[in-house]
Amino acid sequence: MKSLWIIPHLLAASVTPVLAQATAPATAEVAPPEAMKSVLLPANEPGRAATQPAALSNTRSATRNVRVWTESRPDVDGLTAFLYQRANELAPAVVRLPGTTAGEWFSVLPIAAANWVELRMEVNLVAAGARPAAKEFLDEMVTAVETFLRDDFRRWRLEQAEPLEHARLDANRRLQEARARLSDIRAKMRQHADRSDVSGKGIADALTKLEEERQKLELDAMGKGARRDALERQVAAQSAAVEKKTADDPIAAELAKVVEAREQKAKQMQAMAAAANASQADVTDAIAHAAEARAKLLERQRDAGGEAGGEAIVLLNRELLTLSVDLHELDARLHYVRRHLDGLRSASDLADDAQAAETEWQEARAEWKSVTDELRALARSTARPPRVVVTGGTANVPVETPPGSGGGGGSQPKSGEEH
């Protein structure tokens, strides 16, 4: 930490603030001179034995002007009160005076301007027994000013940043909650809709498309169902008609009588052969004739069935089977479409919740960004700590009066630049 102590003979009271500002340190950290360190060093300080104690300035009165540039607008009254309190604390150690008398020999005059505050501090140690360390005392008071301002600056910066930090944390919490809620709702929507695109438009488009598909499938199923019903009735009616027509066929009736006569003849021949009145060849011939007649009857019955529309029953049944398979397929597709429609409707019901969560997330995000920007701006504006510059001061060394010169052995003050 770079520090600058203003050498009194270079910085008299006439030094302008401009010059002082130009030579001011970058920070408020201003280390006390080695002389002051030795004044304040405790008796048991290890470094004390190693270093030679600095010579006392032997000053009984001194002034010090300190100018402060800061953006934290310090509480001047508070600073003044602090300096008096600090003077009382330092009094016993530095000037060997009671810690309650500082108001009698120490004074601070604050002068506040628009962007700086000047403190004119003065020490006048006329009391008997006072240690002639006015210069050292004021050095310590400058350090006290720096300490106060540094703490005040930190406090001020914290006070400025605290509400913004709270706001940022709050916005961040809301942001996380809204994000989690949105994510949860979208996951549910994906689960219901069984699709990755769960935007409002995507869901609405899918609903419309699937509704149209459902209507088309239902219409198709209705038509095919009606056709299947008609076919079933047609098969039943046609089969009854074919049976009736076959039974009523006159040719088949004639052929049935032929079969009956041939079978009767075959039985007679068998009986005659058993009585040895006919040969076995005659029996075989009669049986063959009967079988031939049965074959003709069956053939005729088949033809009669064909003429009655029996072939149509086969075709109707074939179409019935095809329709049954088609209806099965339509049912499966309808089931799928209806199930997905239910899911899409559930997802659509959640779309409003998702929209609300998204709006909340966007608001929280905008708020978080705004607060973060404000915090950055605050960090930039408070990046420069207060600058403390000693702009002038004096220290008076009492002039020793030789004994017998009429001065009574006292000392006369000798005014000079602080050193």
Partner: protein, 96 residues
Amino acid sequence: MDNVVAAIHERTAERLMASAARRGAALGARPRAGVAATDVQRERDRAALILVYGADRQARENRAADAIAAYRRAIELFPQTHWAEVARRRLQAMQS
């Protein structure tokens, strides 16, 4: 005697067939494949089976009303089939 009767009926049948063939030829009808009575019954059974099979599927899909209607239709349209009896049993089971 039996041979005489048979011959008469046989000639009658032949005449009737010839007459039918002439009518068919005059109308330009093509000869059609025949279906015997047993074939008709088989087609009836097949239609009833298709109905009962569809009804069973509807019952499995918890479409009881559709299934009951289909079983009843099988009984109504094809009462003399084996599958009509199956449909009756299914209906009883569903209603019990």
